[in-house]
Symmetry: C2
Subunit: 172 residues, 2 copies
């Protein structure tokens, strides 16, 4: 299968990655969440080539993750801002950052810390259950088929998704 076809899978992770799974895209969004808005700023912060940046920004705009907002005419200039759909990626970025903080530390501590303004404390973003508010641990979550996979005549490639074993215990 070609990478470009992953959005055809009946899988939300695959569909999400079809939008944000290319090189640089997540780093562009990281910068957007930290306040970067302009082409040149993205370029110099990231060290990406202009060509690639232009392509990635264009795709994010097409997908509705960013919008181009004019901030000056004559000459016409625009900046790139997160939409609501884009802001929805906050948990993904934060989870990546926390994992990096925990597992990829090179001994100098975290690059950034986060203050939760509404409670005033330094926060460690935690994934929790919407119903009981406990932290979600993979061994305690059981996936089951949702509406999109109930269809009895699925394309055969997707059939494997219907056999969901249980989650794993860690090793090592």
């Amino acid at each position: 299968m070609r990478w470009d076809d992953i959005d055809k899978q009946i899988c939300s992770v695959a569909r999400a990655l079809s939008v944000v799974g290319e090189r640089w895209t997540m780093l562009i969004l990281r910068d957007a969440f930290l306040g970067t808005r302009r082409f040149d700023q993205f370029q110099s912060n990231l060290g990406i080539t202009r060509h690639r940046l232009s392509e990635r920004l264009g795709k994010l705009v097409d997908q509705g993750v960013l919008v181009k907002v004019p901030y000056h005419d004559r000459p016409l200039r625009h900046e790139y801002r997160l939409t609501r759909k884009g802001l929805g990626l906050y948990p993904v970025l934060m989870s990546l950052a926390r994992w990096g903080d925990e597992w990829m530390d090179k001994g100098e501590g975290a690059p950034l810390e986060y203050i939760h303004q509404s409670c005033g404390h330094m926060t460690r973003p935690t994934l929790t259950c919407s119903e009981c508010a406990e932290p979600l641990r993979p061994e305690e979550v059981r996936p089951r088929l949702g509406p999109a996979l109930q269809d009895p005549n699925l394309p055969p490639q997707q059939a494997s998704l219907k056999k969901i074993p249980s989650l794993l215990k860690p090793v090592g």
Copy 2:
């Protein structure tokens, strides 16, 4: 800058992506979380080429995200299992899945639903503050420099990270 150098950045997101940011890697991990363990199973579930799969699995093992565990000798066979470091990626995968459920739905509902065994309910994984337990909204979180970025003589490329503006309001 070359993509291979992103792990040199003083940024946890970049470091995390240097491990899980390549094509296919996240989908391999998705399958691992759903119980896939063997080479051929990954291959047929994902539709990735054997070559690429072999390379990606090898890298994940090198990075300590998966371990190769023998399950049969003569002939020697092994399977790939998530380590604790690998299980640590659960919030990333879940956040991606939720975003895909919400924003990439094609009108047939979610592919998978998740039951939180310990409370018995269908859960919507939510990123919350470790201190006050409220859902974390990007406008309410202010990043500040952590230990790793306090060093007064940083390499100049990283200097841009020191200027953290505020977070954005959505548009559109």
